[in-house]
Symmetry: D2
């Protein structure tokens, strides 16, 4: 891959988590971005290949620097920081970064524009409320222009991405009733991160399925924020996540009441119109059922709509890879928008199946 | 295990499928039942251990007969026939069995009491309408007395079992609105049987999840039949099944509107009252989330209820092992009822986890 | 299940691990054993169903006591202790138990009869060398008489069980060369226990396979101890374990050099003769390949032998469920032997497939 | 992606199998190759996205043609044919192709240079013996120059790739004894293809492991052919494949006797020297254990070497993705060599983990 001297230089803050590794995987084939720094406080001094052996070859080929602690980073010459830290730690970190940097944050720290709502759901006061006012919620297809101008982009959560991509256009088009939305979501385990927790052990997850965070998951207010904006009034939704015995992928099965006499075909048409020409969002034809394995490893989102047996209702199916369109892929997409690059740069990889 | 001379002698018709194997597994530890014949037309002449190597030891120990074709069975001395044939083939087979036999059918052929509805959903006229009138729908906990008297028990489908066990008591108690029920169900792959189909290949199922039969699955009318009886009027439901990358288990995540000011606690109380003393159905405490792996290999059903974020709504979670309580276990339970045995005989095995 | 007043009363020490749960699962259907105490220091005060929801129904039905800390146990009236603690902690615990108790230990603490070898591999001096002299290594089929007399039985490790059951008779019969044995073993993840470790996370194990502990796993000296006894001289083996993306099961693929002109058929015959009449060990017919899923959840061991393409060599395949015959099942089997019970009591469950 | 007018035009024969889909995935990001035709006799007329929904987006973006039957292909203007048909059907198909075409064959039909050996293992006479004499066995790193000149490249099997990449240099360097090689190989299920077979069903593969083709797998003579060339005399090996519950990946655990007093470090040095500068083959440092998940989705091969506990022996671990370096990736790599392109073109994707 030819790399020019005018590469954008990126720092990956929190490179030892799955989203950090995924950023490196994606950026390693990005034609105009170079990884200039990677941080991981507890793994400082190690090579990336020690922490993620699957990236050892990429790290060598790209001459990636070793992992350092955050305070060791030389910010001179760095253009953009991807921040993949756990929620609650990011607000102060971002506030301390040089102001000239673009920041693409993958945590939950800047997603809720209402800091009181943040405090209610995350259990502590917001630590950078001024920054929050300038953060742009980075659901790329829906707010591309604002992202282009933003200094700080708050990338949406994985579940909220899978839910809002289909629901926002349907609400805006008046095709569905915003007051009767049930989001039954199914996610792979990588969404829980790499922390060593009993609940994420292979033997606790394989060969079974269960709901979790029932009626109290933190992605509910985030989804509601987006849908309320679309509906121009407060919207509450059911959001019920389930843990699947698989690594990657989210399927959102969304049960909606159609409005104004609409049918599934109308919903499909509204979505197809909204996403016409989009490289990553695809409305599948009538009768086709999206599966998470159709998007694995890619930045794609597939959306299908079916008429329900219940009159006046429809079933909307949406799939993404939680680590790509639901995290690191959308982050790179947002960076591309922010720097005026081809939006698909680094993201042209097709899904890996089987 | 001591076996008396007064054993009940059972035939397993269709022993080469997963439900057939599961019947043998269960009956092999049943204290008063002996397997006297096993049929599998395409595998006739083979030992059970050739078709299911995991049962070779049981077959030897119990001196199980070889697989024969159906027309080779000597019915003299046989007391009960379990019928695990594919749907559509069972009606004529059962009609041809000696009348003195008890029949426990695991297919879909006698589940719908309305033969017109059967014809509509299964694509052909019912071939034994007279038998249909005497068939009892065998959801054991709900119709135990009728099962005790029945000659022909139609065991419920796996999904309908998982949905009706929680929903029927809730409707009967007036705790929920029967007109706003959404059943999002997740099933292991064994529910699709052992037929060699591309859609059931490992590489087509692992590492992914998808819905199927959206708004047109044949278990929808079966669920509706049970709920309509409970509601004493026609009920239509949303039923959306999903294929999980796991062998066994069904989780039904059921979204309901509470009636008459009820809360989740009222629903939980109604269920706990209804299933008090039942050996296989258990209402879990507030806050506990049932998982399919908590019932794997057992005849148990666990049910939990949560208040929804949406006011006036609740989320009901129900889990079973599709091959046990959803098929062969409930079949044996029904046989136990039919012969006046201890209902738990042969079914005392605890779940296998991990 | 009828339970007499003359039940054997058992304590399960370390009931919060997978082997502890498996002991409860098995003992819950044992006709003459009652669980009188269960310990789990860090979970003391909790009900078993809080720690292992899949056992909540069993715990209720059997009126199991809550988990207590070890020092809370009232030993009066207890007949046998199963000890499922991590290695290194067991020696002192067992030394402190009342002498009249039978002890069935599932840890590695008493498996190596040479305490110097123990110190070398486990990194600390043996803490109960006197007890070690009376411990009997509990590979049931091979030392049944000694187990019947023993106060302290050290249950073999999971891998050593899978390797020694086929290899000891082959060495004793002179059919193979003890100096050229390669054991390539594949294990499910439950063998690593329930501790929260990054290496056991779902996302680190699913969709992949790798070797671990290469040339330095602690089960190597244990296997060598048994084979040396059989060969009546010191034997060294290759033992290479691999982690499989599955919950349960061990497959040992063993590469051996045949001795004295023997062929695979001779090896098969030697094994079949040695295990004739054994309820749990089965030599499969020529051409049949054992699979771990053929023994899942059961106390069975299946063994097959094939001629190699390399002249004078054979391939021996052995499968067990690591948590049953490789741990808790064999422990109960040993208890049965120790108390003169039917050896299959509590262990009659057939494999769970699929 | 900018595509020039001077693109190489490729046909994919047999595009409806997993290797066909993988070719499309890889070629879709190849900078100088364009897919001009795709065949699938039984799916002729369908769009690729109907057969492989994960490729629907790629098919649209690249304006891929629909699937056609083989005899519908217009060969004018096509430069190279990838042939991914089942073995036994390819010899006549390739013989009928225009002679000016480069052919990269993924089947087993041209891998064995000795047509008598082919007939013995594949059960029928070779149908294109003249073509066989010009076929080059395409293990790229080892025969790059011959591949550059070849019209017909026979891509190695997945298992043989994983075994020969480490073993050929070790034999050539005289570091190991070619007469004592045991290859215990573990493969994901995609290696069995997309045919609907009971043995490949999810429920028959998940949660278990087993060997297959013991001492009679067709990849044994292929491995032996390569090792015999390296040893300059006939070599026989043990090759024992195992089916893993995972989609992709092969781990070859190879047990070897060291020669001439060598140690693992010498073997590692010999391999590191041989593969110095290779973009896809990497010798991992001492103590590092390669895992299949470290190469998933990439064209990488990782090799590690460990001293055995058995004196004078070593353990060699080699991992590849069976569908990439074991099939379609190596095929593209060979095409790149054949057309004088950058060998990594289209193959720069890093592994997908988790």
């Amino acid at each position: 891959m030819t790399r020019t001297e005018n590469m954008i230089r990126a720092a990956v803050i929190g490179a030892s988590g799955y989203t950090g590794a995924e950023l490196v995987r994606i950026l390693s084939v990005h034609p105009t971005v170079q990884i200039a720094a990677m941080t991981a406080d507890r793994k400082a001094g190690q090579a990336l290949g020690d922490v993620f052996p699957h990236l050892a070859t990429a790290a060598d080929g790209l001459r990636l620097p070793p992992l350092v602690s955050l305070d060791e980073v030389q910010w001179d010459g760095i253009d953009v920081a991807f921040c993949g830290l756990p929620h609650g730690t990011t607000q102060e970190v971002v506030a301390a970064l040089p102001e000239r940097l673009k920041v693409v944050d993958l945590s939950a720290d800047f997603r809720l524009s209402d800091t009181a709502l943040y405090a209610q759901w995350y259990g502590h006061e917001h630590r950078a409320p001024a920054l929050q006012t300038e953060a742009v919620y980075g659901l790329t297809e829906l707010v591309r222009d604002a992202i282009a101008e933003a200094r700080l982009v708050a990338c949406p959560g994985c579940y909220p991405t899978s839910a809002q991509l289909p629901l926002v256009p349907l609400i805006e088009a008046g095709v569905i009733d915003a007051d009767d939305i049930i989001v039954d979501a199914k996610s792979g385990v990588s969404g829980a991160g790499r922390a060593a927790k009993e609940a994420s052990l292979f033997a606790e997850v394989a060969e079974g399925v269960h709901a979790y965070g029932v009626a109290k998951h933190r992605h509910a207010p985030e989804i509601e924020q987006g849908l309320s904006l679309a509906a121009k009034r407060p919207v509450t939704v059911n959001f019920t996540p389930h843990l699947m015995p698989m690594n990657r992928g989210i399927l959102a099965t969304i049960y909606v009441r159609l409005a104004g006499g609409a049918r599934a075909a109308d919903a499909r048409a509204a979505l197809a119109g909204r996403y016409d020409g989009e490289p990553f969002v695809r409305v599948v034809p009538e009768g086709v059922v999206p599966a998470t394995r159709h998007v694995r490893g890619s930045n794609h989102c597939l959306i299908g709509v079916f008429d329900d047996r219940l009159p006046g209702r429809a079933i909307v199916l949406s799939v993404i890879d939680n680590l790509v369109k639901g995290a690191s892929g959308q982050a790179v997409q947002n960076m591309n928008v922010g720097f005026g690059l081809d939006e698909t740069a680094g993201l042209e990889q097709q899904p890996l199946f089987p």
